[in-house]
Symmetry: C2
Subunit: 326 residues, 2 copies
């Protein structure tokens, strides 16, 4: 294990421990059993790590940023619990979702109290920048809600452009990445230039992460990735690949993709066919190029910071996050 | 119109205008149409008024407390939107609820963004006490969620004691009253003693308000109150009256109340019968006594403050709030 891997595991242990003690009350059980269940799920804790490392990268102590790091992970889990209700998702990370294990009402309320719990942790931050931090956090929630609203709207729209999609994922996925890096930089006492650089780094990383996620749906090993290959295709999810391929395809290919978009009679046996269309239209290659470009941009933003071990670890961490199937 | 009535209407106009401009964005429409719809509903704005008047009662300027007053009303509306989903409520204040007019998903997300919008307004507060104010606000959300969780749990429990009920309404209804008075006092720069007195005033007023609400279900004029007389009875809602009467009743009366609690075959024609049992067991009288006692306690708390026009107006306002059917 290299030194970064060790530090990552150490930070993750701290976050997991704080998450476990964030909601210690036992009653009402219908509220605190599900919230504990959610926070006990293992995860990569990407957003908390971005906060801690961004804080360090501008010269702050990671310790200062722990409450905010815990807060962002609780907030992320709130979005998962509510999104899973809206998406009718039966499982997540190999476990039943809250609304399946309990019911919709329990999941609504569990999500609600997680938002408050997230603010409670955030407000423990001791920093002169706390007001600014709270503003960034709050705008983050607003944009994540907007992103989810667009995502749901897109499900019933016939035509969604790649641009619409990019706007949506910037809000739904990207925003919490840039909120994390920005908050970390603010708590660490970064200069305006440093804060801006880290925010932009988060934005680029967030987009690369989402496009990678779309790509993994058809390229990843089922067992390692933990989701069914081609799940997005079967659900007719308007991903980077589908929207881009649809813009490029013609004739029969286009009709097949139209059927995917409209969720008309697509079964697992169509997945290889759609994958072939993705290859033929070159969108898999394009997605990889986009990810590469975003990674390069992310790196350029980081290079505006002083050269410190924390900055090097951020490079390493970005790489780790994006090579999830390795 | 007396001077207090005039001041009340003036403050209400300010709050309504700020609520109308709090969420001005138009897209995504599935997010901002419902939030605007909710905030445009007329209401008494009880909680915002409690903030403004509490701020004044400790010597602050109402103006300072306007962002927090707007925030508490947005937060209150978030709880209504989500509670209405959980309660399957078709209408509120004479209009379709969000989940009925749109759907559950839209209502979940609209509620979520209202929480963020509430914090956004709150964080506009310019006060040395802002960190404390944000803490109180956040704990308020936690307790309201706990109260709602208990309320839902009680629906499926056979036996709920009056004490359980009082704990539940203290969280579900009372808490936002005491949060309002406490926040107002904090923003106004009140002393510790003044803050405590106003918080206790809010707690007493909140309880009186809820017991009054239970009472109005069977005593109020249908047209004026806007709800169907005996609605709580038909729904088997475990109210102050039902729980207290069940503890006191015997024989056939007790069996009838058991049927109400278990929602077994209760129809509108049973409402007068249940009302008779309430009268026979004296619980209507008891509820009135409890309300009187809470009002007296609320007044005693106010008397710890300096005698100012704002304090007098708080007396007047508490009275207005509790005489909703006049």
């Amino acid at each position: 294990m290299n030194q970064f891997e060790k530090r990552y595991q150490r930070y993750r242990t701290v976050i997991d421990a704080k998450l476990a003690s964030a909601l210690r009350k036992s009653e009402p059980v219908s509220l605190y059993d599900p919230t504990r269940y959610v926070l006990a799920a293992s995860g990569k804790r990407i957003r908390p790590l971005l906060i801690l490392l961004s804080c360090e990268a501008v010269g702050g102590a990671a310790n200062q940023a722990v409450p905010a790091a815990v807060a962002i992970e609780i907030l992320h889990n709130f979005t998962l619990v509510h999104d899973d209700i809206m998406d009718n998702a039966p499982s997540r990370r190999g476990r039943a979702t809250v609304h399946m294990r309990w019911d919709d009402n329990v999941a609504i309320l569990a999500g609600d109290v997680l938002v408050a719990a997230a603010y409670r942790e955030l407000l423990r931050t001791r920093s002169r920048a706390i007001a600014h931090v709270a503003d960034v956090f709050t705008e983050g929630i607003v944009e994540v809600c907007e992103g989810q609203a667009y995502d749901k709207e897109f499900e019933t729209l016939r035509d969604v452009s790649l641009n619409d999609y990019l706007l949506m994922i910037a809000k739904k996925t990207g925003k919490l990445f840039s909120v994390s890096t920005e908050i970390g930089a603010l708590i660490g006492g970064g200069t305006e230039r440093e804060v801006r650089a880290l925010r932009s780094f988060g934005t680029s990383l967030g987009r690369a992460f989402q496009v990678q996620d779309d790509l993994l749906d058809i390229t990843a090993d089922e067992k390692e990735f933990g989701k069914r290959t081609g799940g997005d295709i079967l659900e007719g999810k308007k991903t980077f690949l589908l929207l881009q391929a649809y813009e490029r395809a013609a004739g029969k290919d286009r009709r097949v993709l139209r059927a995917v978009i409209e969720k008309r009679g697509i079964t697992p046996k169509h997945v290889p066919l759609v994958k072939e269309i993705y290859e033929r239209t070159g969108v898999i290659e394009t997605a990889k190029q986009w990810i590469d470009r975003d990674i390069r941009q992310a790196s350029l933003h980081l290079q505006k910071l002083r050269d410190t071990p924390a900055r090097t670890m951020l490079f390493w961490f970005a790489d780790m996050v994006l090579n999830r199937n390795h």
